[in-house]
């Protein structure tokens, strides 16, 4: 990939109509992408926004397709819609029928709906199947400057490419299927300026957990966040996806990173990415996707990461997080009554005592997977820690690649063998234990270090206790038997 992001644009903007004011009014990245998708703008009404890519999965779509049938409507753009089975699919025995009859029915209904309405669908076992937010980028369907929606809150993942990407409900899924548009009020803009470089041993996951801990689970509500600064520029696409993925955990409507050479290098040659002359046109267009120097954000947050340490959650929302060097906090230290009440409930649910060093927390299960951390780089990061080591006796450890493509790549690199030699189970792709809609669940009281995105009560199984961690910390924790960093293992050996 040799084209430079600084190349002069040559006038092949994706759409020029609403872009005309760009010459005069400085705009942020999200405003530029938003403006070029406005089909109709009228006073007192939300913008009618065109949707470039609509991702569909089995859980939030059946009622939307029913709605279309009831009203006799068709899918306006089946070719801008792609479906896959991810939430419900088992991660073992995918060549056999799904044992849970209700899950099986939902998967069948997805396939039938896609066949009826002419939508490409990657069902369980297909070479392109995987978690919806993994396959969009890896197939080259997610591109800079696009609008991407899905009936799933982690659609924010796709913002890593400089797309405006957000989760929607089932009524909106039906609306997009029928019209390829959505009426949306433009969110406010928010910049998170990351200052300093990520220290060695810290990952994108630690960065985003720290951000959520800083601004809170409601800190981004009503906003599109743009992540900025050298530390963000230095992240791989996988890392940027991890950060944008968890924007929703700070309440944000979406998260974005301006596209650059890292983005273009990732995309070039992907199955659906433009080729030849079309690729050149796309690059010209994408060069405009930056926040203008004199543009202003509605809210700016500065976060210094130069002394960051790996982060782990202690509570029942992703904002309840501390450095692994820290201790379980005491509700008494909290000034806001709502925070105190929430912390008390969380400690009770999690079975933790204030003041316990985080490293003293022993776990029963380690889960490496989910749309946050199941890409090839995440698996490499964990495998590097596990190589030549063994999972602690009695501990259950699952590795669930995000997609069949990720799984195949990992197997080509021998990563599956490293996981298995260490005592991990190497599974088939899907959402798996992130939300426990398939058989991968925690038992009541079972404690898990998880690379997923939500430590909500019951999220990984009724009564299950979740600590959110990076893939490196998950792997080290599997070996140590308690929350640990890879450096802890080096020191012990």
């Amino acid at each position: 990939m040799s084209r430079s992001a600084t190349r002069r644009p040559t006038g092949t903007a994706q759409r020029t109509g609403t872009d005309q004011r760009s010459a005069t009014v400085p705009r942020t990245l999200s405003e530029k992408v938003w403006d070029r998708h406005v089909v109709r703008r009228a006073d007192g009404e939300p913008d009618l926004l065109f949707v470039d890519l609509h991702l569909v999965h089995e859980v939030t779509s059946p009622q939307a397709f029913d709605g279309l049938r009831l009203s006799g409507r068709r899918v306006r753009h089946p070719e801008l819609t792609v479906a896959t089975a991810d939430h419900n699919v088992p991660t073992t025995g995918v060549d056999k029928p799904v044992a849970d009859p209700i899950s099986a029915r939902q998967l069948e209904v997805l396939a039938a709906n896609c066949a009826e309405f002419g939508i490409t669908c990657y069902p369980m076992g297909h070479a392109n199947q995987g978690i919806v937010h993994i396959i969009g980028p890896e197939l080259g369907l997610t591109l800079p400057g696009m609008t991407v929606v899905c009936g799933d809150s982690h659609t924010s993942t796709h913002g890593a490419f400089g797309a405006v990407a957000f989760g929607i409900g089932t009524s909106e899924v039906e609306h997009v299927l029928a019209t390829q548009t959505l009426p949306q009020t433009r969110p406010a803009t928010m910049a998170i300026e990351i200052e300093g470089a990520l220290p060695l041993g810290c990952t994108a996951k630690d960065l985003v957990l720290h951000i959520i801990g800083t601004i809170g689970t409601g800190g981004g509500i009503g906003h599109i966040i743009e992540y900025r600064g050298e530390a963000v520029r230095n992240l791989s696409m996988e890392g940027r996806m991890t950060v944008c993925n968890m924007s929703i955990e700070a309440g944000a409507r979406a998260g974005m990173v301006a596209p650059d050479d890292t983005t273009f290098a990732y995309l070039e040659g992907r199955p659906h990415a433009p080729e030849g002359r079309a690729w050149e046109m796309a690059l010209d267009d994408w060069a405009q996707l930056v926040t203008d120097e004199d543009a202003s954000f509605d809210k700016v947050v500065h976060i210094d990461v130069s002394a960051l340490r790996p982060h782990v959650t202690w509570g029942t929302n992703p904002g309840q997080v501390v450095s692994i060097e820290g201790r379980v906090p005491s509700p008494d230290e909290m000034t806001e009554p709502a925070d105190r009440e929430s912390a008390e409930r969380a400690l009770s649910y999690m079975g933790l005592r204030a003041g316990t060093p985080m490293r003293d927390i022993a776990v029963d299960t380690v889960f490496i997977g989910s749309c946050t951390n199941s890409r090839i780089e995440d698996l490499r990061e964990a495998a590097a820690v596990l190589d030549g080591r063994r999972v602690r006796a009695g501990l259950r450890a699952l590795a669930v690649p995000g997609s069949h493509r990720v799984k195949a790549q990992a197997e080509a690199e021998g990563i599956d063998k490293v996981f298995e030699a260490a005592g991990f189970e190497w599974r088939e792709p899907g959402c798996s234990m992130c939300l426990a809609m398939n058989p991968d669940k925690l038992a009541p009281g079972e404690r898990c270090a998880s690379t997923s995105n939500r430590n909500f009560e019951g999220r990984q199984g009724r009564g299950g206790r979740t600590h959110l961690v990076s893939p490196a910390v998950a792997a080290a924790t599997a070996v140590a038997g308690h929350l640990a960093t890879p450096q802890d293992l080096d020191a012990a050996s």
Partner: protein, 207 residues
Amino acid sequence: MKAVQVVTGRAVPLERSDVDTDQIIPSDWLKRVERTGFGAGLFAEWRDDRRFVLNDERYAGATILVAGPNFGTGSSREHAVWALMDYGFQAVVSPRFGDIFRNNATKQGLVPVVVEPKLGGALLQAIRDDPSIEITIDVARGTIEVPAAGLAGNFPMDEFDRERLVNGWDDIGLTLRHEPDIARYESERAVWLPSAAGAVSASGTAS
């Protein structure tokens, strides 16, 4: 969507913050392909606790839920709205809602009422003190009133959402009035934008 102009009724105090949609309707319930019958799953895990407020008979039949800040954060599942409505709620009051939940609510006719934290606290107190107290939420005027407790306030709502709620308008029908605008936009889209049509093979070529 059924039009909703005024909601008058008793309320349930849910004195918790950060009530995410996983709590409102746990994921086990999401396997259903229907839109109805989710009321039984509302706050399913919490309802197993006898002391949970929804199990308090004094609040049976209430139509308004009053909660702490950050209600409906997390997962985009519209099932959360379906569950609340199926159970019998017509409005939810909180100092702050998750964006997607709030959108989903207005699509279904569940009124999301954003109140100042101070008023939210006073409402909780009033309902706790007197479970029979009546609250009136006027969508058109954007007001919430509890005359018996001397409480009143305004709540913000997007004008378009307000009109849709009050009139019970169907979103898709409204959008399709602008079909010519959509068609014009489509004709101007860049040629290099991707199409998802046709499965691609594992090696990367279209099949």
